[in-house]
Amino acid sequence: MKIKGVLQRLIGFLLLALLWQLIFWSGRFSPLVFPSLTTIGKALLEAVINGELIQQLLLSLSIIAQALFISLLLALFLSLLANIFESTAGLIDTLIALAHPLPGIALMPLVLIWLGAGRQAILVIIIHSVLWPLLLNLRSGFSSIPEIYNLVGKNYGLSKLQIMLQIMAPASLPYFLSGLKIGWARAWRALISAEMLFGAINSIGGLGWFIFEKRVFFDLPGVFAGIIVIIIIGITVENLIFNRIEKRTVKKWGMEL
């Protein structure tokens, strides 16, 4: 079953590649705007070997890791606050309702004026993209914990902190993971766009900037090389990391949402 899935995926990729090559061979488009797979492959290899692509990738990943970490702490802090002090819950929920539907990109002009076009600005935009869906999921995760788990915890003499750590945390894990997944997807998109936009003003680098720069020099194979790396990272994180975590936790426990 698993091998079959991988095989199907592989055949899909091959078919797409073939289609691409067929269009290229048809000669309907100039190789400048529609490069062949071999040119793209070469550009990708070159960018990897001379270190440029890896450097920009690492920069992007470091920004996103930092932003995810900060968002995680903020989300945990705010959801704990809402749980412990009833009075803050309404305020926090209002904040979520206002901020959650607002795309990070929409904040960019404002952030640009307030913070300038630097790493800080990108961080703020990514944190905005991640924090609210994560917080929203944590909130609904906590409120969906069956009352019976808490009763059992109380009955066996657990303290409030023990109930929090031993019961609330694992019981809300499915929601936490799904919030993290949404957060990751949003952060990744926000990051690439922010790097492109800010790169045009004040280059701080990153994958988005890599692609943008290649476009400026009309290096389309380079642009595609950047896109391919973005796809690879997306697949790796969503399929390998998240799926693996889910398989070892919520799926194994029969707690999928």
Partner: protein
């Protein structure tokens, strides 16, 4: 049954419980008085809505009585305690993220942390065997049938070694075959461990089969109608004449 001291091991005195609906006071429990002897098996029998689950939750310490109190050995009980473990009807009382053995270990870790971990595991296995489930220790709850889950819940409760077991229709969601098996298992365990058991049910047969004493409740407001001693010889059979006689008497109430 004249021994007053033992008889008053666990007692409820003038227990009332209200709730408010649109500023209107509704009485859930009205003047509940009874006591249980140590190692006694008491059934609380009544239709739905008679407040029998609320009553059990008050004894467990999950809810507070609005008037009156619950006493154990003459001392008023406050709050919940692992000395009084509740077993629920819901199958999801087990923690889904823990294996069966870890669910039982949870009780041991909470109640008897002084025992070293290897011994705790050994004890957990012992209780799993006691409920007839030696082979499923490494399974997760979602892989078990409803009856198995209730057995694990029983094993977890026993592992905490409580003085009193509070059982809220634990077999209510099982089919009759499984239910009969679990009833026999519970009686065996009770005879072996001599725990005091308060068992809530709406099933007359179940109450007769299990309990030494049957507290019959009724609705509007929830109150005790009658307390009946059940001296039938064990093992009890549904087809015995005395059984059916008691059944008739109870169903007329």
């Amino acid at each position: 049954m004249g021994n007053g001291i033992i008889r008053n091991y666990l007692s409820l005195k003038n227990v009332y419980k209200y709730y408010y609906q649109n500023a209107e006071k509704k009485i859930v429990l009205e003047d509940i008085n009874f006591s249980a002897a140590k190692a006694e098996f008491v059934a609380i029998l009544g239709p739905s809505g008679c407040g029998k689950t609320t009553l059990l939750k008050i004894i467990a310490g999950f809810l507070e009585a609005d008037r009156g109190a619950v006493y154990k050995d003459g001392k008023e009980l406050r709050g919940s305690s692992p000395e009084r473990i509740m077993i629920f009807q819901e199958f999801r009382q087990l923690f889904p993220w823990k294996t069966v053995i870890s669910n039982i270990l949870f009780a041991l870790n909470a109640k008897r942390p002084a025992i070293n971990p290897a011994d705790r595991r050994e004890i957990a296995r012992y209780y799993l065997k006691e409920v007839g489930l030696s082979d499923v220790g490494e399974y997760y709850p979602h892989q078990l049938s409803g009856g198995m889950k209730q057995r694990v819940a029983l094993a977890r409760a026993l592992a905490a070694d409580p003085e009193i077991l509070l059982m809220d229709e634990p077999f209510g969601s099982l089919d009759s075959q499984r239910r009969a098996k679990l009833q026999r298992l519970l009686v065996d365990i009770w005879q072996k461990t001599r725990k005091t058991i308060l068992f809530v049910t709406h099933d007359i047969e179940e109450a007769i089969l299990l309990a030494d004493r049957i507290i019959v409740m009724d609705t509007d407001p929830g109150h005790i109608k009658e307390i009946i001693n059940n001296q039938l010889k064990r093992p009890r059979k549904r087809t015995d004449l005395e059984f059916t006689a008691l059944y008739k008497r109870l169903s007329r109430l």
